[in-house]
Symmetry: C2
Subunit: 308 residues, 2 copies
């Protein structure tokens, strides 16, 4: 009897896996180290092997896979972090697990985390969901009318690469300057803090650190350091711009903030709201903006949802 | 036999109507002057009357109505231009036409024009469509996975009110400053031209006009006037920002430009493309950006589609 869903969240460092029942309850989770040798050609074999070791193949209804790159119609277009170019993950994985009846679906990891939050997290029950994942970069996911948007090229939800700044012009990994990712990710918070430390004489305990991190800025903001709070405030002003643009496009029921930076919690929401409403009035005057609740399990939940 | 669809595009000045066959071919169109007395309480009676005068009620399958304001689940939330507050148009219209079997659907006019272009215009056959209508203001419509997005508050597609400028700070009708509507609508083009005329001494034939209009700026740009072309170029740079933000959210198959300003044609597309690709690279490198083909009939086509 096919009674399990497998969620597989493939990252550049580790692959997280979860075994779910058909209702989407997480029964068991584990992870393996990603083997990126030879342009990541072993990754799918690794995944097939660890699934076979942990679950009887005949008991699996479906395997959902999230990857860090654009996906269109189940085909991965590229994943720089894994070494992959275009890849038919469904076909390649099926060749290894040799089971015609298992459903295999693939999606972009940031958008799948959004699905996870809709399935079992803070966005449960909503039809129109926006998610910003503030980690090393800024990822995004867009659900409209209950459906995850992929768009023409699978880049729907590349919310981190909206150019929202023409003042600092911090360079982005994508090749542009001023993307929201350069200001509101963990990296972006450090960019802003360093910039201001170098150009002001304002007192802040941050000056004593040889290496800055977003966590240090957030911790000091929480402890009442004005400099750190101002940095975070400005960072969230830029995030609020991207949020406003996206909101006027799809008018979401809820906006979810995930990723490491979201550990800042309620303080972050307050800073975002302060800037957000100025940019969407008078069209939107009440908006649920919430911290994600599934943490780094959002991906495997979303993957399970893909094949339920 | 119910063999006709009626499209009704309600504007502040006139109501445009169209009689369509069930395939969406326009058979006959006409218009009446909008009667806005007493907060527009006569408008729906006017519409019922003119439909009854022109088409046998028993032959109508459905009536689709577009209004200049936000609509959610067939309920108009407000229409400042018509004098309407919240209004159940379906219920009120049915009370006048007295036919239980006619389908009545209501939508926002800018989003419905987008549906019209998808149904019978330049966006025919596409599933993901963005439209910017550059008229007195800037309207928008968003179709994702073949479905028109309304969102939580019916404000999905308020693309004209993205704040894209922090330099000129032209005031917008919505109460904010720097909305794309203040820079890329017909009004916005005049805003920019006046601003630059007052602050530069650059030669331009525009200086001889007592009253400026977007059409004059466009006409002179086409005739080779550098000042006019620069104004239009900057105007389209701001439009390109809003387009880029929206594109990274839904990743459309095609972006359609409608409204009076779109009469500028190919020159406009060239200016938009010049700025747009800088803002969406490397994610989007090829994008269909096209002038709308249905002109001011897009609304009635879209209304017919609502009830087909």
């Amino acid at each position: 009897m096919r009674e399990y869903l497998i969620g597989v969240d493939v990252g550049g460092t580790s692959v997280k896996l979860g075994k779910f029942d058909l209702e989407g309850n997480l029964l068991y989770k584990w992870s393996i180290k990603t083997d990126k040798t030879n342009q990541g050609e072993l990754i799918l074999k690794q995944i097939a092997k660890t699934i076979q070791e942990n679950v009887s193949i005949q008991s699996i209804k479906g395997i959902g896979i999230g990857v860090p790159g654009p996906v269109k119609n189940n085909i991965v277009l590229n994943c720089v972090n894994l070494g992959w170019g275009s890849k038919d993950v469904e076909k390649e994985l099926r060749e290894v697990i040799i089971d015609e009846d298992i459903i295999i679906k693939v999606g972009n990891d940031a958008t799948i985390a959004t699905v996870g939050e809709m399935f079992k997290g803070v966005a449960r029950g909503y039809q129109n969901v926006l998610m910003f994942t503030l980690g090393t970069g800024v990822g995004g996911g867009v659900i409209a009318n209950g459906t995850l948007l992929e768009g023409k090229n699978g880049v729907s939800g590349e919310l981190g690469h909206m150019v929202v700044d023409y003042k600092y012009n911090f360079p982005c990994n994508c090749g542009k300057k001023g993307c929201v990712e350069t200001l509101a990710s963990a990296t972006g918070i450090v960019n802003l803090a360093k910039y201001k430390l170098a150009r002001t004489k304002e007192f802040t305990p941050l000056r004593k650190f040889r290496y800055l991190s977003a966590k240090k800025v957030i911790d000091h903001a929480k402890m009442g350091d004005k400099f750190s709070k101002d940095v975070l405030d400005e960072s969230m002003e830029y995030l609020a711009r991207a949020m406003a643009f996206t909101s006027l496009t799809i008018d979401p029921d809820i906006i979810v903030i995930g990723g490491g930076v979201s550990n800042a919690g309620e303080m972050l929401i307050e800073l975002i709201e302060k800037h957000y409403y100025k940019l969407v009035k008078p069209f939107i005057t009440h908006q649920r903006i919430e911290i994600a609740t599934l943490g780094n399990e959002a991906g495997i939940y979303g993957c399970a949802y893909l094949v339920k």
